[in-house]
Every structure is written in C-alpha cells, then in structure tokens.
C-alpha cells in the first residue's frame, strides 16, 4: 500500500499500480489540481506544507479504515508539498475493488477524509495577497 507525502511531481500511474490486481475489476482515481480562482480571487500559486511523518501516518490510518469498512477495496494516496502552480496536481488517489461501486465510494471517502484530518496546510497566493486556508479566524 502506498501513502506518501512528497515534494516531487506526482504520478497517477504510481498510485494506480499500487492498487491494481487481477481481482480488481473497478479502478477509480481522483486528482486534486491547483485551480486559478477561489472566492472571486485570481490565484497565482499555492504553497503546501505538511507535518510529514504524521500526515503519512494519518493517510495510512484512513486508508486502512476504508479498506476495513469496504472489504476487497484497495486505496493508495500521494500528496505533494511545496510551491505548486496552476494546473499542477496536489494530490492523487487511486481506489480499486472487484466491482465499481465500492471503488467509487472508497475514492470519494479517501479524499473527503484526507481533507478533514491530514496535517497538510495550503497557503493561497492571490494577485492581491496571501492567506492560509482553513476555517480559522
């Protein structure tokens, strides 16, 4: 299983290979891409920062929880840190299962839970200022 934080460009192929097997008939992937706008502001770049060892541990824990909840499912995730430009991938997730239903469910659960609980932070640099994204003050 693959759960990693890296400052290198992400490879969708790598997470796909980590979950592929002859038993798995359905394969679903998610890619989180840096977009050019947020709340009406034009975004120049994003800066991601991680508490890396805990982030990898939490990603593994939540991946394993999904695999326990949905037997037969495999999940792999990789998140990038550092400065990312528009169009670059910040996170890639692959999920597989014997049938497509659980694969879709697992992939969705993985990204939703990752965003809730993994200690990775995003600073949004816009044309007129910069801001750490979160639901703080």
């Amino acid at each position: 299983m693959l759960f990693k934080v890296t400052d290198a460009p992400l490879s969708l192929d790598e997470v796909v290979r980590a979950v592929s097997a002859e038993s798995q008939g359905g394969l679903v992937t998610f890619t989180g891409v840096v977009r050019d706008h947020n709340h009406g502001k034009r975004i120049v770049r994003l800066e991601y920062e991680a508490y890396r060892p805990m982030a990898e541990r939490v990603m593994r824990d939540l991946g394993e929880a999904i695999m326990r909840e949905m037997p037969g499912v495999r999940v792999a995730m990789a998140h990038r840190v550092g400065t990312l430009g528009i169009g670059e991938a910040a996170v890639v997730i692959a999920a597989s299962a014997p049938h497509r239903g659980p694969a879709f469910d697992a992939c969705e659960a993985a990204i939703d839970r990752l965003k809730q609980s993994v200690p990775i932070w995003k600073k949004e640099v816009a044309e007129d200022g910069e801001e750490w994204i979160g639901c703080g003050p």
């Binding site: 508490y51 200690p119 995003k122 750490w132 003050p137």
Partner: protein, 86 residues
C-alpha cells in the same frame, strides 16, 4: 522535562521559526504547555481556540500528560474541514 514543540503554517510564519525546545515541570499537561506558549507568543494566544495539538503524532486533549522527550505539534486548521465546501 523537555518537549520538542513544532510549528506549522500560519503559526510558523507568525513566530518566524518552526520549532522550540520547551522545559516544563514533570507531569505538565498539554493545556499547561499551551497556556505557557500563549503567554509568551501573542500569535499562539490569538489562534489558541483554533489550534489542535498532537503529541508524538497522535491528536490529544488538553488534559494529556506530557513526558520527557515528547514531540508536540501545534495543528492549525487544515483546509477542507467541516465548514469548507466540497
């Protein structure tokens, strides 16, 4: 006892450093450590209500008792939390 305190994101930026070594009396709790940091650093005081704490990479509450050598991380809100949209 000595704890290794790690700062990230908005806290790291405001404190202008990513870590501190903090000496505490034996048996001190996370809550006591946070009160100490908030007393020293206005940025910590300002964000206190929004900071979670991890000790040795596991989230803990304020009543968690610290031990010598613990790694304590201040965790500001992460993006995509419950109040953020999908």
């Amino acid at each position: 006892m000595k704890t290794h305190v790690l700062y990230f994101a908005v806290i790291r930026e405001r404190l202008k450093r990513d870590r501190d070594e903090v000496e505490l009396p034996a048996g001190a709790t996370v809550g006591q450590l946070m009160a100490h940091l908030a007393g020293r650093e206005p940025a910590v005081a300002a964000l206190r209500a929004h900071l979670k704490v991890a000790v040795n990479q596991a989230m803990v509450g304020d009543d968690h008792a610290l031990r010598d050598g613990d790694e304590v991380a201040l965790i500001p809100p992460v993006s995509g939390g419950a109040c953020c949209s999908r």
